[in-house]
């Protein structure tokens, strides 16, 4: 494993991870913890107790100023004017053809103060798009390369974070606030990518080691790597950019029309998306639950009634259900409904699966 590749970005928690026995691996240009005690145990800790993730690789961008709202409205798909101060909203950034450049959360911390968190691999691109839209506007864009990102997720997350950061105790789902840790301000949000209750914390690099240690010392908090982050998000059917969504797909196909506001005014990709909606949506992202013990992975063909009807984009073993699950684009878009039977070509052998509307597991982050 090329874990010493000098081109990789390093998290300030690398020594902490090594001390905890983590297996580190490259992810989106960063050397990040993939697993510590094993993906299954880490997954179970988040579903049943509480786990902490180092997500320093994701982007952290301030968008501030009197025209911050206008710039964001032109950049992202959802109606940012509907976000109240102290709330957050799921969004997509599109290209001129309506393809998905990234999906991200927009947090509103103050009247004119927003914070966006792009995926690691897309941070530079999203920053570029924002700079482009901001040209000449009264808005400040700050990319916080020295900040970290910790997620504390699981049924016990509110108890753990509330004890360290009292500001967190009262936050509802998709709420956000500025908190103080050792007199240093940090952003705190009741959001996540696991399907459990949880928090996302954005501490400056200077305090992240202390905060990480203090969270782990809270009792029963398990460090969780990117392996379990993937199985957790897939059980909820949350798409991962670069796998399930990309510039090759639109929000219409990804089932994310709910995050697109066509009537808020112009935004990147709007016209193309309207055109594509009129032309008809070619495919639709569905969940697949395997009916035998085979485990689907990404890019496996899917068949129905002898026809090839699509391909998986993500697949794994669901630790909760103990069966294989996948996300797949099936076409034509209107052909399938939940409960339909299809077959997944698992390395040359057809395995039966059921079409499912995610989430695969009965969990809620609220």
């Amino acid at each position: 494993m090329k874990s010493t590749d000098p081109a990789l970005h390093r998290t300030p928690l690398e020594d902490e991870h090594r001390r905890l026995g983590a297996r580190l691996g490259p992810f989106a240009g960063w050397l990040m913890p993939i697993e510590y005690g094993g993906t299954l145990a880490e997954h179970a800790a988040v579903r049943q107790g509480v786990g902490v993730f180092d997500l320093t690789h994701l982007g952290k961008l301030d968008v501030t100023g009197p025209e911050a709202l206008d710039v964001l409205q032109r950049t992202v798909t959802n109606d940012v004017s509907r976000i109240e101060v102290g709330r957050a909203q799921y969004n997509m950034v599109l290209d001129d053809a309506g393809g998905i450049v990234d999906d991200l959360i927009v947090y509103r911390l103050g009247e004119d103060r927003y914070f966006v968190v792009p995926n690691a691999a897309n941070t530079a691109r999203v920053h570029e798009v924002l700079l482009d839209e901001a040209g000449g506007s009264r808005v400040d864009l700050v990319l916080h390369e020295d900040w970290s990102f910790l997620a504390v997720q699981g049924p016990r997350a509110v108890e753990v974070v509330g004890a360290l950061l009292p500001e967190g105790a009262g936050l509802g789902y998709m709420g956000c606030a500025e908190a103080r840790y050792r007199d240093v301000p940090l952003i705190l949000a009741r959001s996540g990518y696991t399907g459990e209750r949880g928090f996302e914390l954005f501490p400056p690099g200077g305090v992240v080691v202390d905060l990480w240690r203090e969270i782990l010392d809270s009792g029963g908090v398990v460090p969780v790597g990117l392996g379990a982050r993937d199985t957790l998000r897939l059980e909820m059917g949350y798409p991962l950019h670069g796998q399930d969504i990309s510039t090759e797909r639109t929000p219409l196909e990804a089932g994310a029309s709910w995050a697109v506001s066509f009537d808020k005014g112009p935004f990147r990709g709007r016209d193309a998306l309207l055109r594509r909606r009129e032309e008809g949506v070619p495919a639709r992202l569905w969940g697949l639950r395997m009916l035998d013990r085979r485990i689907p992975r990404a890019h496996y063909p899917v068949f129905a009634g002898g026809d090839r009807v699509g391909e998986t984009t993500s697949g794994t073993f669901s630790p909760t259900l103990r069966v294989g699950i996948a996300l797949a684009y099936l076409e034509p878009a209107g052909r399938f409904t939940a409960g339909d039977r299809v077959e997944v070509d698992v390395r040359g052998r057809r395995a039966p699966a059921e079409v499912v509307k995610p989430p695969f597991v009965d969990r809620s982050p609220r």
Partner: protein, 131 residues
């Protein structure tokens, strides 16, 4: 990491145990199970299946990936580990014990001489780890 002396090893990280009488027990090594992560499904062939040295006879799936398992020898499967159907995690917990995969009947036990011994395999693994 364990490298039992009595076993022979392949470059694909399988082990083979000569049980005499032409029977060879086969599984994957401690190194292999560690690299795979949590094993969640093991596909091993039915008894009577012919296997060939250097060719895949089964698959091991972990939470993150799927890997072929290669036969160290030519022969016929005479036993398959029935425990793995319900407890694939045995491959992680006891790779050289209850996590075994198949027993193959070989016509020519001398085939095992072509495989690595414990010391040689240990060196091989250390080189892989550094590469």
């Amino acid at each position: 990491m364990e490298f039992p002396e009595e076993l022979r090893y392949t470059r694909e990280h399988e082990w083979a145990l000569d049980e005499s009488g032409g029977r060879v027990r086969i599984g994957i090594t401690d190194y292999a199970q560690d690299a795979l992560g949590d094993v969640v499904y093991v596909d091993v062939p039915e008894t009577g299946t012919e296997v060939r040295a250097g060719e895949p006879f089964g698959e091991v799936e972990s939470t993150k990936s799927v890997s072929d398992v290669y036969s160290p020898v030519n022969g016929t499967v005479v036993e398959r580990n029935p425990l793995l159907d319900e407890r694939p995690e045995l491959v992680n917990e006891e790779p050289y014990g209850d996590g075994w995969m198949i027993v193959v009947e070989v016509s020519d036990p001398d085939q095992l001489d072509d495989l690595m011994g414990a010391a040689e395999y240990r060196t091989f693994v250390e080189e892989v780890g550094e590469g």
